[in-house]
Point group: C2
């Protein structure tokens, strides 16, 4: 494995290495100086050349058989995805003594740089770190920051996997963000998209077959196993090394890895986790690898499988959400029963291969009983669960505070790793609908039509993903935090988190968590050695009298008279000593 794109070599010179195995001529064009530097092909199709150290900020293009394109391995695209690439100095985050956060101890916070603050920059986000730390967050997960078309996008349409999106800031901002987070005890991990290239501004095909005929819902799949796959595999493995080692992230959330198809002897997903773990060992810090796989496949996190530390688990979300809201369209269609909530808390996977999955139309999943708690990342909100709704509405807006707080209580009481979606901790009301800022009309139309097709069953139209207003509407409304309601909700979250981080509530060990579900009352009791969580999933007041030895500690909603629990309410008890 060697570096790709422009980098500074050991002699201090600028070096280029470009994979273009079927091309006749490749050259670097220094656009401001009208200078062209031809590169030389090696036998595997890498084109290399060395020249004097180019200063930070030098703009360049690559000329391939007479046509000019930005560098697929560009580190920065100051003028957007269609513009020149930029020679970029990058310093890794330096945090002496930093050893990271273990998966078992993690409390994740998912954050979209563009909408987390009004300014939508890394610098502005840095201003909130103290707040996040006080909340109890110890792992910040950034939605993808790889350069995408236009100014706004969730991030999953990125086309330059090595380039920090320019409207978010520069690498100094990123370094400072990571370092500041670590000083507060928080790791920073990155959402990376290795399953496709975005639909606009993807010039990689002009260089090499980075994609192949197999399809993902968002475009051609990556060519990890066809002709020239070695250059493609190296590109993405090098990308892993780059973000973890050269930039200094503490791990990845890898997007939609079930759509990374690989027929090679060792699956590329395993190569990613091997590499990340090796970097972590070499640098003496935890490097966390979290997969969004969503097929309830226990091998994703098993040593004999892909060996991720953890994977996103949607079943707890779907089970709780569908039970509380009665929504049973789309991805909720398998859920809605009380029993599924208990199964999610006990077994990990509700869809475990034993029952028909009406949404995917097959028997999805494996038995999760023997997975560890830390192998599941759970949530009651995340960018997809909120965003992939007709109005991008948050649970609290549509279904009220009681259900939302019962939901997060189930997440925290579970023996799994909890993840918050920015703002939910103070009852944020802003929606998070899909937004983009493509410039090609056919792609803009395609995104709009795709959105409409997703929600064809509904009467309303989804928000226009291209409208600037859709993006602006999605920005957190921090003023909500200052309201009494915001403070009360935040306070409840903080108390849950204190118990969770202390291992008293939902320790990341299923053996330490006893789940008792009563179908007739729709009450679930989750008991650990330290706490008893009673959750009323019914719409009725229920009798509730814990045995002696438990004293009330926390209530998600209205405290009932003794001996009862209100509808859609959770009560947490601590052991009396």
């Amino acid at each position: 494995m060697a570096k790709v794109g422009h980098f500074c070599n050991e002699k201090g010179n600028s070096e280029f290495r470009v994979f273009a195995p079927e091309k006749e001529r490749v050259a670097v064009v220094l656009t401001e100086k009208s200078r062209m530097v031809p590169l030389n092909r090696d036998e595997l199709g890498y084109w290399t050349g060395e020249l004097e150290r180019l200063p930070h900020g030098t703009l360049y293009l690559l000329e391939v058989d007479g046509r000019r394109f930005p560098d697929p391995a560009s580190r920065y695209q100051p003028k957007g995805v269609h513009g020149p690439s930029m020679v970029t100095e990058i310093e890794a985050a330096r945090s002496p003594g930093w050893t990271g956060v273990k998966m078992e101890d993690a409390l994740l916070y998912e954050l979209h740089v563009g909408t987390f603050t009004g300014k939508g920059t890394l610098q502005a986000a840095k201003g909130k770190l103290q707040y996040l730390s006080a909340l109890g967050v110890n792992v910040i997960e950034l939605l993808p920051i790889a350069a995408f078309p236009g100014e706004r996008n969730w991030g999953y349409d990125g086309t330059f996997h090595f380039a920090l999106h320019s409207t978010y800031g520069d690498y100094q901002d990123l370094k400072q963000f990571i370092e500041a987070a670590r000083e507060l005890g928080m790791a920073v991990i990155l959402d990376v998209v290795y399953n496709h290239f975005g639909p606009e501004g993807n010039y990689s095909g002009a260089f090499a077959p980075y994609t192949k005929s197999a399809a993902t819902p968002w475009g051609a799949a990556i060519n990890f196993d066809g002709a020239y796959n070695y250059g493609v595999r190296e590109f993405f493995l090098e990308n892993t090394r780059y973000w973890l080692q050269e930039v200094g992230f503490d791990g990845f959330r890898m997007d939609a890895v079930s759509l990374i198809f690989d027929n090679m002897p060792v699956h590329i997903l395993r190569e990613f986790t091997d590499l990340a773990r090796e970097i972590g060992r070499a640098e003496g810090r935890e490097v966390l690898m979290i997969a969004e796989h969503l097929r309830n496949n226990k091998y994703v996190t098993s040593e004999k499988g892909f060996n991720y530390h953890s994977q996103w688990n949607d079943d707890l979300n779907h089970a709780v959400f569908a039970k509380l809201t009665g929504e049973t369209t789309r991805h909720y269609m398998n859920f809605g029963s009380f029993g599924d909530v208990a199964k999610a808390l006990e077994k990990g996977f509700v869809l475990d291969g034993t029952r028909y999955d009406k949404y995917h139309r097959y028997f999805l999943g494996t038995d999760g009983s023997h997975t560890r708690g830390s192998e599941h990342v759970v949530h009651i909100q995340n960018h997809d669960q909120v965003g992939n709704r007709l109005l991008g509405d948050r649970m609290i807006v549509t279904y009220g505070r009681d259900k939302a707080l019962l939901g997060i209580t189930a997440v925290m009481a579970s023996p799994y790793v909890p993840m918050l979606f920015m703002g939910e901790e103070y009852g944020e009301q802003a929606p998070f609908p899909f937004f983009e800022h493509f410039s090609e009309q056919v792609i803009i139309d395609g995104a709009r039509e795709g959105r409409k097709a997703d929600f064809a069953f509904a009467d309303l139209e989804p928000m226009d993903p291209h409208a600037r207003a859709t993006f602006e509407e999605s920005k957190l409304r921090w003023e909500q935090l200052e309201t009494p309601d915001g403070q009360a909700i935040l306070n409840y979250y903080k108390q849950l988190i204190v118990l969770k981080l202390a291992g008293q509530l939902g320790p990341r060990d299923k053996a330490g968590v006893k789940v008792v579900a009563d179908e007739s009352t729709e009450i679930i009791r989750v008991e650990t050695p330290h706490t008893l969580t009673v959750m009323n999933f019914s719409g009725n007041r229920r009798a509730n009298q814990p045995a002696a030895g438990w004293e009330p500690c926390l209530c998600s909603g209205k405290v009932s008279e003794a001996g009862n629990i209100e509808p859609y309410t959770a009560m947490i008890y601590k052991r009396t000593d």
Copy 2:
């Protein structure tokens, strides 16, 4: 797993079970009686119905939403792939005391029923079993016999995976063939094609999504992991059970399994081998699972991988063939050096991930050093290696007897499982070019054009695959066997086989085989505790004086004066006692 198509249930009645999960109405149409029997859908999309025992020979079609098709799980298509299906009584081969043949002991013989004899039937083939047994064959491998369009075809265009192709005979013929083979100590295994359906006469799509968007070179890939995959998986697993248990084959050669894509938690290839091994255990006989994977992937035959007993290994063939013939086009392009022959003999895989594969254009393969000898099936001829040539010519025709016999000597001296291609043992000269008998013009044209495109680099045109003459030309010319040349070649093969089966030549254990290659003379010496094989891969007479203790036993060509070995000649020595 339950039966599919028509079968006789425990009550002795006829039962149908048809997978059509998105259809409105499915019925059985008894075509001769103009009778229609509606089937009932269960919740998973299986349509079932029971009626009085239909006699053997009853013709039927399935009506799906008003249109009529043959049954995808038809056992017999007496009027071809476009005609009705037939209710068929099948008796499994019964061979008391039969325990099969172990992979380590196997000597395979690949046989195409249609061209093995003039009549091209199983009955006629049965007449040759005594001959095969006398030759030393212990595993007969039939090219696919699943019903294909028209009268002639290699077999890889089959569209009814459960149906014995009708021009080959009926199930009584097949039963008698298997039983007669076993009486002579020979197992019979079947080549099955689970990676695609043939291009003509495939009505499966009218029932369920058996195929998906991913492509193989021969058509859409099988849908083992998309919506409704449970019905597709069951169909093929049931097919495995059917041929092994209901018909009674002793194993499979599975065609092009690297093109069976599966993203489910447990790969369908592993499910096939698990099922086959379970059947073997239950019935107390060896059931052999051999993969044609051809990616030099050691996990295909490892316990933690797909767990096949063995897999086809083309590297020894390519290394020997390219070295001896100088051909370096197409799949030979990675080969031609003397060193590769020695590497193939020693390590198993020549392309082992350490060097660029110019044909596939990536670093194909894994290190084969630690595989067992029985994990590799090797050959100097097979249907593909002969057939996928411009003229379908056999090595002996184009390159002469010396090189052909040196080639088979390398195969036998290797520590791997040898496979012969019908007729090679007596120097058969008939070609084996691709032939088919499609009836749809666009498919006929497609096959012709595909063939031409494969050989665009050559001056000559390939033989017309559709012409009857191409098929007739391919039939074995048994009269060759009766010539002095034929007898001499047969005699050499027999002697090699005697040594091989006795474990004296190329025992299936790499530790017992020492390979010494001399680059300067192009002589390879393969030594076992019992034999020394000296192979001269050069075009020159070379000095050859084995140490004391070895006495000449066998020579592939002209015996040289003492102290020498002729060009392209092998000498085998036995230890003097």
